[in-house]
């Protein structure tokens, strides 16, 4: 059967099924294959807080959305074009997001009474007409998989588990993707279990040819390669990129990396990733709690490591007392906070941007710590390096903010060559002559004199320090001086960071201001609004404390400013107090990234237009 091939610019697919159905795997395979085929891509995994919720329940549904395109891609897509639903619960949970008229491909075999009940369906949606208006494709995926694997030695359960590969094969066919990359991957992944290896391979192939042979589809689609910049690419998630950024900073600074951390979702993967690379001299220390995590890192920094600690919101809360110590002792240290839904335990597997205030202000006393944030998964790499650069140059703890969306989401990254990356100069003090632990260089940084250096023995600690000699000092005037000195040191960093960049004209009716993981959604919205003739520009903070020094100039050139954040307006508060200007706000705190359409709608609401 030959099918029509239709060319599309842009497709968003969501794979959804039970936690045990392997949707994350299916999604990542499709992602990698599309990437290899040259599409630009963005992904959004979304999994439940439970490890394996009982099969068939709505709260056990795991999803993976990916957006691939022949154009530049900024977000994982607002509304999927295609929903692959492996069971009724997956349909139930995900249908509301599907584009009007979108395609549903579902595993008809899973729509039995038991599963319908578990998903709280009174009637079968495949039959009750409730899916009218969608293109509904009912494929008996389980049965087809079983049929395809007839004769293997695997148990029924094992056979049934291969249905995700069948579905993947079918989707490859539907979107005209090569299956070779996944075949290679299966071979490698299951090299120790040939039976499973073969079964998955057969299922994949069967799914692919099913597409060709079934009458359910009359058309297949093709999304051409995007016009990406020349070079080598790989797909990276934010957490991976963060970890790689630190490895790079370690190599580029010549310092050994030390990570003291306590596992917490969604930050743990940075720990996992770094602990794989011990051959870079990296030491990872899984501490007894977050306090020990940061304290061990402080100890490592004190003794000469490039020291890190990684966590998420509640963990940052626990680390705040120790961060004060790092400020007082002026030690280089990078703290990564992968933000998640709060307050308290909140929505631990969901994304949010509500730790900005905590990052900048959440410590006792006047306790300035530079704060930087990554905008995209691959930007995590560069911001991790940037955080290290600032920490080492200014002898200060630096907070790097990412979020659950960036951490788990992925995008193609044009891999830089080692020699394209900037060096990060370091500076252990060794000369005895003229040494004073709280003397300053031109950046107001104090010397880093590490234990083991003869003649530089000295004492530091959390009590106020006398200027220059660093002794404990209760002198009123010294305290005032040191408080202001620490503030100035951090404020001066604004002279050493890139200007705030503007996407669009540098003046106009509206400036959309953002920071962190909303970058993609804002960019997509702005591009669209500008195409539609609106005078709107976009500026995105990567340095949040201090702000780039041109910030005020940028803001002043726009009639209105809209601050878009996944919180109740934290950046807005800071901008208002810093520049004494009023701003408009768009805030949605749903544990989800913004849809670009939300932002577009808001722009239109402000500026008019369609």
């Amino acid at each position: 059967m030959t099918k029509e091939v239709q060319i599309l610019e842009d497709v968003t697919i969501r794979f959804a099924g039970d936690s045990g159905d392997g949707m994350q795997l299916t999604g990542s395979q499709f992602t990698n294959t599309s990437a290899l085929a040259g599409n630009d891509i963005s992904t959004l995994p979304d999994y439940p807080a439970e490890i394996r919720a009982p099969i068939g329940t709505t709260y056990g549904v795991s999803g993976f959305q990916l957006h691939f395109s022949s154009n530049e891609v900024f977000t994982p897509g607002d509304h999927p074009d295609v929903l692959v639903a492996m069971n009724p619960a997956a349909l139930k949970v995900n249908l509301k997001d599907l584009k009007k008229g979108g395609t549903i491909i579902c595993n008809a075999n899973a729509f039995d009474l038991k599963n319908l009940k578990l998903a709280n369906y009174d009637t079968n949606p495949l039959e009750d007409g409730s899916l009218e208006g969608y293109e509904l494709i009912q494929a008996p995926l389980t049965k087809l998989t079983i049929a395809a694997l007839e004769g293997t030695d695997l148990s029924n359960k094992e056979v049934a588990r291969c249905k995700n590969f069948f579905a993947l094969g079918l989707m490859y066919w539907l979107f005209s993707k090569p299956i070779e990359p996944t075949l290679d991957w299966i071979k490698l992944k299951f090299k120790k279990n040939e039976a499973i290896q073969n079964a998955n391979k057969e299922a994949l192939l069967a799914g692919y040819s099913y597409g060709d042979n079934t009458e359910l589809f009359t058309t297949k689609y093709q999304v051409e390669a995007a016009k990406l910049e020349k070079g080598f690419y790989r797909n990276v998630s934010g957490n991976e990129a963060t970890a790689l950024g630190f490895v790079a900073a370690s190599v580029k600074s010549g310092l050994k990396l030390f990570l003291g951390s306590y596992p917490i979702t969604p930050a743990s993967d940075i720990l996992h990733e770094l602990s794989k690379h011990k051959n870079f001299g990296i030491k990872t220390f899984q501490a007894e709690d977050e306090i020990a995590g940061v304290c061990s890192a402080i100890g490592a920094a004190y003794s000469g490591a490039l020291a890190l600690t990684t966590t998420s919101g509640p963990g940052l809360a626990l680390k705040t007392e120790a961060l004060g110590l790092a400020v007082m002792t002026e030690l280089p240290l990078v703290i990564v906070n992968v933000q998640r839904g709060g307050p308290s335990t909140g929505l631990p597997t969901k994304t949010e941007q509500a730790d900005l205030m905590q990052a900048i202000y959440g410590r006792n006393g006047e306790c300035p710590i530079p704060v930087v944030a990554a905008s995209t998964p691959s930007d995590c790499f560069y911001m991790a390096m940037e955080a290290c650069r600032i920490a080492l140059k200014y002898m200060t703890p630096v907070l790097l903010l990412t979020d659950g969306y960036l951490a788990n989401g992925s995008e193609p990254w044009k891999v830089p060559h080692e020699n394209e990356l900037p060096e990060i100069p370091t500076k252990f003090r060794t000369e005895v002559e003229g040494f004073a632990p709280y003397s300053r260089d031109e950046n107001l940084a104090r010397p880093w004199a590490i234990p083991g250096t003869p003649g530089l023995e000295h004492r530091i600690g959390g009590l106020e320090k006398a200027n220059i000699n660093g002794n404990v000092c209760y002198e009123p005037a010294n305290h005032d001086f040191m408080i202001k000195l620490r503030a100035e040191k951090v404020r001066n960093i604004r002279n050493d960071i890139p200007d705030l960049e503007i996407n669009g004209e540098d003046e106009g009716d509206l400036l959309v201001l953002g920071w962190g993981g909303t970058y993609g959604a804002i960019t997509a919205a702005i591009n669209k609004a500008r195409k539609n003739g609106l005078k709107v520009s976009h500026a995105h903070f990567k340095h949040l404390f201090p702000f780039p020094k041109n910030t005020e100039d940028v803001l002043k050139k726009f009639k209105k400013i809209l601050v878009v954040e996944i919180n109740l307006g934290q950046l807005a508060k800071i901008v208002k107090s810093e520049f004494v200007i009023d701003v408009l706000q768009l805030n949605k705190v749903q544990g989800l990234p913004f849809k670009s359409s939300d932002i577009e709608a808001k722009i239109i609401e402000i500026l008019g237009g369609k």
Partner: protein
């Protein structure tokens, strides 16, 4: 590899106690037991063969935690309760340093309890000196986790209702590899314990009974007073029977698992019947029994090394793992790492 894993000991280093004295005025109360510890440390350190610059003192907050200021080594006076955690970072990063922790009963056992027990179980190669004065000194006299039940203090005007920790028991339970106790007033003994701690590879926990003249004066008087000391203190020595008393007239005997105080003069028992101390016993029960003496009527308080066992250290194991993996996989190559995984080329 040995270099990476071991504290840097060099031959021919000539240091004197003066080399370790700081230029800062010591600010403890006159008569405070902390002074004694400081002098003994300054006395023992020159003999350890470790270059001065390789010593690091880490402390928390409390009177005792001022210790690092009074040593002219590297020193870190950190925050309350976190000394063990910070010291763990120092040592894990730099096994070549000799890392010492100065801490109080509040600092180590109250707010810092978790870091302490984890440092014990992981056998981090730290020397932990607990200045146990059974009181919060710096905050002016509240009861501490080692204060006796019923103690009247500022925060317990009607007597505290807490049972105290027995620090040695806790350390045994957390599987510390070296556990010792000494007295601020017994200078010679303290020196020995410091030497022993320094020589141990792994966590060395030394509890010093330390008199706080201001808020808990005389807490250890029965153990330090010339009159009563001999009857109240049992000096543990490896391979020696447990004898104590003014004229060495008493001893400890084990009856099954139960210790008994026996007289050596009434003809019933002789030295040969006594419990012979074995520091190196793998069985934690022995040390546990010694630690429990304090809760038993009429028993002396043991000082000396309760237990010393041998295990690999956290810092050593981490360094070794890094080294082994580096040997196995080759030194990390950033270019390769960046381009690893599924990469593709856009031309």
């Amino acid at each position: 590899m040995a270099e990476v894993l071991n504290v840097n000991v060099k031959d021919g280093i000539k240091l004197t106690p003066k080399d370790f004295g700081s230029t800062q005025d010591v600010r403890w109360c006159p008569g405070c037991g902390d002074y004694a510890v400081l002098s003994q440390i300054q006395k023992v350190f020159p003999e350890l063969g470790i270059p001065k610059e390789n010593f690091v003192w880490v402390s928390g907050i409390g009177c005792s935690s001022r210790f690092p200021y009074y040593m002219s080594t590297y020193g870190f006076h950190s925050i309350h309760g976190r000394a063990a955690a910070i010291a763990t970072g120092v040592k894990a990063n730099r096994p070549d340093l000799s890392v010492w922790v100065a801490t109080g009963d509040g600092d180590l056992l109250s707010i810092g309890g978790n870091h302490f027990i984890h440092a014990c179980r992981k056998n981090v190669d730290l020397k932990v000196l607990l200045f146990n004065n059974q009181i919060y000194g710096l905050t002016k006299g509240q009861y501490s986790p080692t204060s006796e039940k019923g103690k009247v203090t500022k925060s317990s005007p009607y007597g505290s209702v807490d049972y105290p920790f027995n620090p040695a028991s806790l350390a045994i339970g957390a599987e510390a590899t070296f556990i010792a106790r000494t007295l601020d007033r017994d200078i010679k003994h303290m020196q020995q314990m410091i030497q022993r701690a320094a020589a141990h590879k792994g966590i060395a926990f030394v509890e010093v009974y330390q008199n706080c003249v201001i808020f808990n004066d005389g807490a250890f008087e029965p153990l330090t007073d010339k009159e009563t000391k001999a009857d109240n203190v049992l000096v543990l020595e490896h391979n020696k029977p447990m004898v104590f008393g003014k004229n060495d007239d008493k001893g400890i005997r084990l009856n099954g698992l139960n210790p008994e105080v026996v007289s050596l003069t009434d003809g019933k028992y002789s030295i040969g019947d006594l419990w012979v101390h074995d520091e190196f016993d793998k069985n934690p029960a022995r040390a546990m029994i010694l630690a429990s003496f304090q809760e038993l009527e009429g028993f002396p308080t043991p000082i000396g090394v309760f237990r010393q066992i041998s295990k690999s250290t956290l810092d050593g194991d981490i360094a070794e793992q890094v080294e082994n993996i580096t040997v196995k996989k080759g030194k990390g190559d950033l270019e390769k790492l960046l381009f690893s995984g599924n990469t593709w080329e856009v031309e």
